[in-house]
Amino acid sequence: MNIVTFKSDFIKPVILGAIIFAALAFLPSLVDSYYMSLAISITSFAILATAWAMFSGPTRYISLATVVFFGIGAYTVAVLGEILPFPVVLICAALAGTVLALLVGFSTLRLAGVYFVIFTFGLTELVRQVVSWYEVNVTRELGRYIFLDITQDDIYWQLLTLLAVLLLTGFILGRSRLGFALRIIGEDETVAKHCGINVTRVKVALFVLSAVFMTLTGAIMAPRWTYIDPVIAFNPMLSFQVVIMALLGGPRRLLGPILGVIPLTLLFEVLTANFPNHFSIMLGVTFMVIVYLLPGGVIGLYEKYGGPNKPSHPNGPPTTKEKTA
């Protein structure tokens, strides 16, 4: 009975999104390279924060390992970039991200959320150490050069495409049974199990999906650096920035994280330019301010004060749950 409204419900945002992305694709012909580099930062953070929130928003499992996947993507390009055609390299990167996410997911996601947080917290350090060890002992070169014929504009377009795919995926997910399962798990995991949902499998599936987007972002961004080493590729600051952005925007809505990405990317830009030595302190302070003053993110504020269809329980920050069984 609702087929028509369902369709327009679906098609309208997709068309609107397509128009916006088509317009954004013309950006390189309008602005100079400084603004292009800013646009690349914003787009890449938009992908990372949205992908982070896709998993951590509904499940409330906080992942502190964004940069692990990002760095693995970058390393895949550094290792294979000159051997294989770029699209094949991207596929390899996605595969590497999938394997690692499956490993992490199956060993931690059947346990209470706090185990997952701890595991992801240290994972960056682990992967960085292992990659360093491998490079020093096996290849005997700590860093790698990436010389690929990929321009800044190419990177921007690739990121924009990836962001479009991610948002479309998120949009479809929000209307799918998988997305619904995820919302039920976020509400009450025990109920989800007794409704016939294979909770671990759903969580792992989403974690892998989110990790693949992070890995691809790292792979696409790699040519921008020309030189990478483990310290550059696996910088824990990146995971931290992504969490702040998603929390500022509101991690439980598809477009929420992007609302946090734009102001914070600009803020970070100003901070790195003016306080290069105090960047970490400023970042910490910004983060604390958001955690204390804006627990529901910008979207939460909007819904609390005057937005349409207010939820009865304003979106809190994601919470881990205790294991009940």
Partner: protein, 290 residues
């Protein structure tokens, strides 16, 4: 070489156990998952370094200053930063997430401050660096002193928890804050006290470690990670478990560093952590929760 590796593993493991005891107190009693915990360890290492190099106060005397100072600092952190989160949390899960996020922010602030003051280099200072012969292995005297202190302090801590009124109150809160309230235990005070005491343990660990290891501003995360793994291995809230788990971790690391490659110590930590997660997530000595 083996006896040297085992001994250095025991020293290291003793430090891990000591540091982890503080963390298990903060997490078990105060319900704060403190990701900035390792930063407090590193801050204490640097404080001991500054006292030694600029004021000529040796780290043993330094402990007398740093223990009360860190207790007060952590008391203040709990009162000012964490109390509002405790007050707004509707349940334990929410507090856990809020505390993870807030202390994650704190981590970057502390690390940033240290970086501004000390830069990214490795530091160390000379303290009782002469070798002593133990079972045929030449061991630096500072390691023996550190281990001795770890044993004495760990034991004292265990006795406080099991033999005193306040210790019993803390353990009661760890088991069930609601019921503890019913028997007239001031849960807020207990949480604050446990957090401060845990912070003091971190500081002790930091000072002792600085006697025999080089340290840098970026080592906090590694300490937090290892302490967390020891806490999980030993079972949350289990002091003896933390001791055994700390020793296992320390010895495993020392063996790998001696015989395979010092660059793989974190990998060892992680392999052990993974095994625990896969086989017995409630910890080596933890009971399965109902």
């Amino acid at each position: 070489m083996l006896s040297y590796a085992v001994f250095s593993g025991i020293t290291l493991g003793g430090m891990y156990a000591l540091v982890a005891m503080g963390l298990t107190l903060q997490y078990g009693v105060s319900r704060i998952m403190n990701l900035a915990y390792g930063e407090l360890v590193v801050v204490a290492s640097f404080a001991a370094f500054v006292l030694m190099t600029s004021a000529g106060i040796n780290p043993v005397i330094g402990l007398l200053i740093l223990i009360p100072a860190s207790f007060a600092l952590n008391w203040a952190i709990y009162r000012i930063l964490l109390k509002p989160l405790v007050a707004r949390a509707k349940n334990r899960g929410m507090l856990e997430v809020d505390s993870i996020l807030a202390t994650f922010g704190l981590l970057f602030i502390v690390q940033g401050v240290l970086l501004v003051w000390f830069g990214g280099n490795y530091y160390s200072y000379d303290f009782m660096n002469s070798a002593v012969n133990v079972f045929g292995a030449a061991i630096a005297a500072n390691r023996l002193v550190a281990l001795g202190f770890a044993v004495v302090i760990g034991l004292g801590f265990y006795l406080i928890l099991t033999r005193t009124r306040i210790g019993t109150a803390l353990r009661a809160v760890a088991v069930d804050p609601q019921s503890a309230r019913l028997v007239a235990i001031d849960v807020n005070f207990a949480a604050c006290f446990a957090f401060a005491l845990g912070g003091a343990m971190a500081a002790i660990g930091g000072v002792l470690v600085s006697m025999f290891l080089t340290f840098s501003t970026s080592m906090g995360v590694v300490f937090t990670m290892k302490a967390l793994i020891v806490v999980i291995m030993g079972g949350v809230g289990n002091i003896l478990g933390a001791l055994v788990a700390g020793l296992i971790l320390g010895i495993a690391e020392a063996l790998v560093a001696t015989y395979i490659d010092p660059g793989l110590t974190i990998a060892v930590t992680y392999v052990i952590f993974l095994l625990v997660l896969l086989i017995k997530p409630s910890g080596l000595f933890g009971r399965a929760t109902s």
